[in-house]
């Protein structure tokens, strides 16, 4: 999206997709091998950047899910009885194989998800490997984790993950589950099943005992069958708040333990004494990382009135340098929206924003003709009452609101059904601490944004869900404590 007059136009620099070998068709990974579904339904997964069909895969039905749960149950007995040090070694193996195959997996993820290779290569994959490496180390130290002596696993975990970070969310789910001695049945998202299926192959390479990890693909019906299956002891879900609530109702009255990582409408608060250039980068990273399809995105910018103009000028200038296009191009900053459905939702919400009187500005960039694309967009003149200030858009759309005093900033930031993330930008240390302590959000980034680490607990307040993933805290979700 550099201007046409700039002689220093970056030539295409595509990462080679030859490194990844996608089969035309995939079955389900149950009890250590790929098997066909007992039904006939098949789905297709497409590259969101080109709409090219990448592969077909099975739509697992209730019978398939039952088979997977039974395989996991059978495997649980031995797996949970293994010494933690042995489970640890399997997880270390997995971490290492992921590192070895990280370029292949990065390209695969970019193809299936539409996110830029820069992100899969530099963020997703390193975090995936790190997560397995981190929880591997816990497997033989659970006695010291603060949950009393010899904490026991729950049993079979049913895990349903979203499409925005397919492999990373898999890692967040599987690594702690296995470290604590549970076995899993995992359902990847309907639009991004491939990296989970490749992970099945990694389990094979690592020699993981059969049935410890089972992958069932399919749409919401498969997820529903898994969550409601009486044979699971634990539900872990990352996805929309609406589905999270349905799951909470579904498991009411059962003994199933549950963790939910749901939506957000993160406030990114910029005070007038902020390190402006870094704040601009943080705002961009906060809402345009992964095309804004991030539950903890900083989708509401709260800027102090006195610097509004300066900040918005800088932000627009910066957005004009974002490069949108081929996700496999190493210079691409903004990739494709994951699906036609998601694009339609983003488009509709942006139109609502305009209809309600917010002022829309989009970065001047050409959108490719095929695939699902949305230009980086911001709305100004937004108030708390606007839909774009309240609803999670899950796309590259930033709503800009202003405030005058720190109290007002906190009040506006907290005025949301969600409570997942927030950002604070100021050079004044005491203000950071004061505001951070008042924000009702599970992750607060001060003078930075969208940072993740396996040691750092992640999860929300209020309708952003409950439970924490990552760190010592993340063990609790998989232990009978």
């Amino acid at each position: 999206m550099t201007t046409t007059t700039n002689p220093f136009a970056y030539a295409p620099a595509p990462e080679s997709r030859a490194i990844v070998d996608i089969a035309p068709s995939y079955g389900l990974f149950i009890d250590g091998e790929f098997t066909e579904s007992s039904g006939q339904d098949r789905n297709k997964t497409v590259s969101p950047a080109t709409e090219e069909v990448l592969a077909e895969y099975a739509q697992a039905n209730a019978e398939d899910v039952d088979r997977a749960v039974k395989a996991a149950r059978k495997a649980f007995e031995k797996w949970s009885a293994l010494p933690g040090s042995e489970r640890a070694k399997y997880l270390f193996r997995i971490a290492r194989i992921i590192q070895e195959r990280s370029r292949e997996l990065a390209v695969l993820e970019t193809l299936d998800n539409g996110k830029p290779i820069k992100e899969t290569r530099d963020a997703d994959l390193p975090l995936v490997a790190a997560h397995f490496f981190y929880y591997a180390g816990w497997a033989d130290k659970l006695d010291h984790a603060g949950y009393g002596p010899n904490p026991r696993p729950l049993g079979v975990a049913g895990q349903v993950i979203p499409w925005n970070f397919p492999l990373l969310m898999l890692a967040w789910k599987i690594a702690p589950a296995l470290a604590t001695g549970n076995t899993v049945v995992l359902k990847p998202a309907e639009t991004t099943p491939l990296s989970a299926l490749f992970f099945a192959d990694i389990c094979r390479q690592a020699g993981l005992p059969r049935g410890v990890v089972n992958i069932v693909t399919g749409d919401g019906r498969t997820g529903q069958a898994l969550v409601s299956h009486p044979g699971i002891n634990k539900v872990a879900f990352t996805g929309s708040t609406a589905v999270g609530k349905a799951i909470a109702r579904e498991i009411a009255g059962t003994d199933k333990k549950v963790t939910l990582e749901l939506g957000g409408k993160g406030a990114n608060i910029v005070f007038d004494d902020a390190p402006i250039d870094q704040a601009v980068e943080g705002i961009v990273n906060g809402i345009f990382f992964n095309q804004g399809q991030v539950c903890c995105a900083g989708s509401r910018l709260l800027v102090q009135e006195s610097i509004q103009e300066e900040l918005l000028d800088a932000l627009k200038r910066r957005l004009s340098t974002l490069r949108l296009g081929d996700p496999l191009d190493k210079n691409t900053d903004i990739g494709a929206i994951n699906s036609a459905e998601q694009l339609a939702r983003i488009t509709a919400l942006a139109e609502t924003g305009e209809a309600e009187g917010a002022e829309r500005w989009s970065a001047p960039c050409e959108l490719p003709s095929a695939g699902y694309w949305f230009a980086p967009t911001l709305f100004t003149n937004v108030t708390q009452a606007h839909t774009v200030a309240r609803d999670e858009i899950f796309g590259p759309v930033l709503s800009v609101l202003t405030f005058r005093t720190p109290d007002e900033a906190v009040a506006k930031a907290n005025n949301s059904q969600y409570g997942l993330s927030a950002g604070i930008w100021t050079e004044k240390g005491s203000r950071i601490l004061a505001v951070a302590s008042k924000l009702r959000a599970g992750v607060v980034w001060a003078n930075t944004f969208n940072k993740f680490d396996p040691t750092s607990p992640f999860g929300g307040y209020k309708e952003s869900g409950f439970g924490r993933e990552g760190g010592r805290h993340g063990l609790e979700a998989y232990l009978d404590v």
């Binding site: 550099t2 201007t3 007059t5 700039n6 002689p7 220093f8 136009a9 970056y10 030539a11 295409p12 620099a13 820069k118 530099d122 004494d273 902020a274 390190p275 402006i276 250039d277 870094q278 980068e281 943080g282 000028d313 340098t321 190493k330 210079n331 050079e427 003078n447 930075t448």
Partner: protein
Amino acid sequence: MPIAPASALPEVTASDQALRRYLHGLPGVDPVGLEARAASLGTRSIKTTAKAYAIDLAISMIDLTTLEGADTPGKVRSLAAKAVRPDPTDRTTPATAAVCVYPDMVATAKAGLQGSGVKVASVATAFPAGRAALGVKLADTRDAVAAGADEIDMVIDRGAFLAGGYLKVYEEIRAVKEAAGSARLKVIFETGELSTYDNIRRASWLGMLAGADFIKTSTGKVAVNATPANTLLMLEAVRDFRRQTGVQVGVKPAGGIRTTKDAIKFLVLVNETAGPDWLDPHWFRFGASSLLNDLLMQRQKLATGRYSGPDYVTVD
């Protein structure tokens, strides 16, 4: 000969206190965020046509430098010849922007560059430490200009800057600017001695307020010289200064940039921070010596498809 223009923002340079208030009122710099941004831009992949363009641009931006006690007229003549025609085997190779020498070598360089359009830059003001009386610094400057220097690379008094003597530094730059006359003035901060990024930002603004034509990272004589992060910070400064005052100022990272890969990273910083207006030897320079040969070898590789070697480029 025009006198240096009055400060772009006269009210902020009226007194030491006003200057301090202004410089300390500039937005802070978060080091982690700054370095992360520089590193992120460093992952840009510049290939084929873009690379060819960048290599030629980088060559044309070099202040080909020799600043050794052991410099000889012969070496300076040789350097001048190389600046004019960096690759004798390929006439399409652009000339460098300037040759940068000590004041006593200015005349030699000038003679070697006669009619070429390549400028003579001279370090002055008791380079590299800057530890001399103002009178000596001014004499140093006038000498260099009198000998034919088109550009003066001065060092600031880091001691005064770090002690908070902003007005002293400001006035010294003003004085050197006046002594330099029509020669363009590059103000060297020696960023490696300024200790914090906040100081680099303040020094940048101080230099620009005092009339610098270029702000320059370093002398090349200390442990840490130009880095992507400190250059990014200075590019932000010139970008913001132009927005506020309308005056465009150039940037010159110097020292430590040795490879084509490095140089292209800096050009990406320029392109995506200050913008294409700075992608011009008039507004951006590399203070370098060995960089040129690496650029030439890469240029040969692009032209021929095979990797070149040091025997196919001239030792200065």
